[in-house]
Symmetry: C2
Subunit: 278 residues, 2 copies
């Protein structure tokens, strides 16, 4: 598998790098970014935090705006930030910001015209980690985190693959996509009308059926414009409580849905994951 | 003077806010951003760091990418980030990225068509601080810092107004604009052909003639693509040495001209300014 280095920036003694590669799962070229902390080398590989971004984002939003490299460098944790969908002129798309390119929702699409390229679940869960593991000085220990649509992705991936992730966290996640407008629109398009097929990508439904106990941290801003209509954290926390799931759920007065919120608490997320990545 | 709040985001317990106001100096509407640390209130106003950005930037680049709010909140320092030029459909501009809108170079233009709006020196040095002081809970203590073109702006402002700024710092500054392509192009356009008029905006020339002793910190990446042709720090450090100027000049192996460099060392700059802002 060929992989092409697109950019390199030294950052907090480590390196931020962007790469392009041809994805088998997605059937197109993809870009991702990695942050390698200063400690990482072949004789001392670093554990990895996978970061899944929200609607409209690429690999760049988190790397440029979250301010995570400082604490990642201190703790010796690598960060991998994939794109949020397949991309390209010949890839199916939609004019809306919440469907098509930039809005893959981390599912394997089954419907026309999406199924040919929109296989983000397989890409994130299997192809990309294999590529990362074979290319960079990283260990087999993975944590996963994300924001909004990416928070949905992180929780869903961890609940379905509890042996693969040491820990999971999310900012402002879409915890119950089967019952909010963003999720209903995307899942109808990508997965079709049979709502039974939607449940395997819905964190609240997965949690209800799961015996997984991946340690979990969720942060939610109370001034988030999407809280009541799209995010509905109470749907998830109610099930977590019932199941005695190891969830720490925190609400933050005054914080919104932006990276100003994420950057304010990203250090806590790295400290949380570091406990389990050791 | 009317001032309109455009956005507010809670960040590290404080607030990032964008404002629009009509500038008398620039003869147009302007946007700027302020970060108010959690400590700032009317009975306990905060000192201010003014940040001047580089070519093509607006008020947003530093606020989104530098990761400065964490340390500003810890130290109780407010940050003001102005735009880099007048803006608007009826404002003179140029297709190049290094002239016109986004490239004001912090000078008072004397030439047609620029003079009508491009009065950035007066805006940054006088009008904006007065507006900030009368609107927000801040003290009369100001530090100034900036990047590239904004590094030029910060050093030049401090050297010309040594009583006004407690301390000055810069990342990758254009220290000698009268003898580099960026500076020669902009100063010709804004100030005309008489190079004697350029000297009052050139930090290396100002330092040579100055008795100012504003404490100064400069960080320069050694993998910066613009180092040899545009930045030429040795022109400035040679004069500083000759004059026994209180300059700390640091070079950083492997770092480039990007915000990945700035974010890696921004904490040091705040710690430096905090010594003098107290």
């Amino acid at each position: 598998m060929t992989i092409e280095n697109l950019s390199s920036n030294k950052s907090f003694g480590g390196w931020h790098k962007q790469y392009k590669h041809t994805s088998t799962a997605l059937n197109c070229d993809m870009r991702f970014a990695i942050y390698l902390p200063p400690q990482a080398n072949d004789s001392k590989p670093a554990p990895v935090l996978y970061w899944l971004s929200g609607l409209t984002c690429t690999d760049e939003n988190f790397m440029q705006k979250a301010g995570a490299q400082r604490i990642a460098a201190e703790l010796g944790i690598a960060i991998v930030a994939p794109d949020t969908s397949p991309r390209g002129d010949d890839i199916a798309d939609d004019n809306a910001y919440d469907l098509g390119q930039g809005a893959g929702f981390y599912v394997n699409a089954t419907q026309t015209p999406w199924a040919k390229h929109y296989q983000m679940y397989d890409y994130i869960n299997q192809e990309l980690p294999e590529l990362v593991k074979s290319t960079f000085p990283v260990t087999d220990q993975w944590a996963i985190s994300g924001h909004s649509m990416g928070g949905h992705g992180a929780l869903m991936m961890a609940l379905r693959n509890s042996e693969q992730y040491t820990s999971v966290s999310a900012f402002s996640p879409i915890v119950n996509p089967v019952s909010c407008p963003w999720g209903e629109k995307a899942f109808s398009a990508y997965l079709g009308d049979d709502k039974a097929d939607w449940r395997e990508y819905d964190s609240t439904e997965l949690l209800r059926e799961s015996s997984a106990k991946v340690p979990m941290l969720i942060d939610q801003g109370l001034a988030d414009n999407f809280l009541a209509e799209q995010l509905k954290p109470q749907n998830f926390t109610a099930v977590a409580k019932e199941k005695h799931y190891p969830l720490t759920y925190r609400e933050h007065e005054g914080y919104d849905h932006s990276y100003y919120f994420i950057s304010s608490f990203i250090e806590d997320h790295f400290m949380f994951h570091a406990k389990y990545l050791k």
